[in-house]
Symmetry: C2
Subunit: 191 residues, 2 copies
């Protein structure tokens, strides 16, 4: 998606250790108009007519997932991380490793809010190692629901989480795949 690549090129920052920061429009301050444009792009790339649920993981995926769910006329469910007292029994769960927080976290979704009848589009703002996506796919499988696909705004291609998902035969659409981010700037994978 050229518009998104342009925003990354113009506003993204590269920190030591190949850390990519796009927090001015994607995951701290969120450009809600851009989210709408991303949602429209996902609608072109997936058969969203059959989607019944958009699933994401807290926290930064929620903004994009909400706009996508609204554009598709379906609810949005977000997996919670770790256990809060406000979630009673009956949970689907998957343990993942968070590279952001450098520890294991557990993704939780109440069994009340995803069922075997659901056709799920997973949406996230950012993917690096793909751990959160692996956890969300586990939860969809546990629920016996159908995974329609995975829509990602920005993928760090050089960390290969997306490649593993592609090899598993899942329909994943990443709108900007960054193949390198270093002192020479951003290099994007060809569409």
């Amino acid at each position: 998606m050229e518009l998104l690549k342009k925003r990354i090129q113009e506003e993204g920052k590269i920190l030591p250790g190949n850390i990519v920061k796009v927090d001015g429009f994607l995951n701290h301050r969120v450009d809600t108009e851009l989210m709408e444009q991303i949602a429209e792009e996902f609608k072109k790339r997936f058969d969203t007519s059959k989607v019944t649920l958009v699933l994401t993981a807290e926290a930064s995926g929620i903004a994009l997932a909400t706009i996508c769910a609204r554009a598709m006329g379906v609810p949005m469910v977000f997996a919670k991380k770790a256990k809060s007292d406000n979630i009673e029994g009956g949970l689907y769960q998957s343990d993942i490793f968070s590279y952001t927080y450098k520890k294991k976290v557990t993704l939780l979704v109440s069994k009340d809010w995803i069922s075997a009848d659901d056709k799920v589009l997973i949406v996230d703002d950012f993917m690096a190692n793909g751990e959160a996506m692996r956890g969300l796919c586990d939860i969809v499988k546990e629920a016996g629901a159908e995974l329609v696909g995975i829509g990602i705004a920005v993928e760090k291609g050089f960390q290969h989480g997306g490649d593993r998902i592609r090899e598993a035969g899942i329909n994943i659409q990443s709108l900007a795949i960054i193949d390198s981010a270093d002192e020479n700037g951003f290099v994007f994978r060809e569409d």
Copy 2:
């Protein structure tokens, strides 16, 4: 807002200890159409023409805040909880007590994403003790920005966080104030 009260009445659950659960449409599975209707209600209750930014706290406020920001044509910023390695220097911060997690958490907003020129509408899905709101108000003040008001979907009136904010002279609009939630069901405050 009658529609919201109706949803709470029909779908909300009351757990021991006056815990109110509205996670089927507000803060785990999110009814995105209802969020749009709530955003429209806030547009009636606040002078949103001058709002430049919608501010919330992660995680469950993000869905509603995103839809509100989109409806108002402005960006959404969410305060992060605790420190992640992806946030570099320059932060506004405020310590609050989280009753959900029973510990102190720090709300953080990068100084890059809120400025003295901003006119901020704070939005959250749920308010009980009002700690998160106190923290967000601190951050708006630290930034030297103008607080337009606070829009809350569901307020637990019997925990008095909202009353303290009203006494401080802040324009807070809660669309459903629950004055009691026990074995007799929900009682809402009159508008």
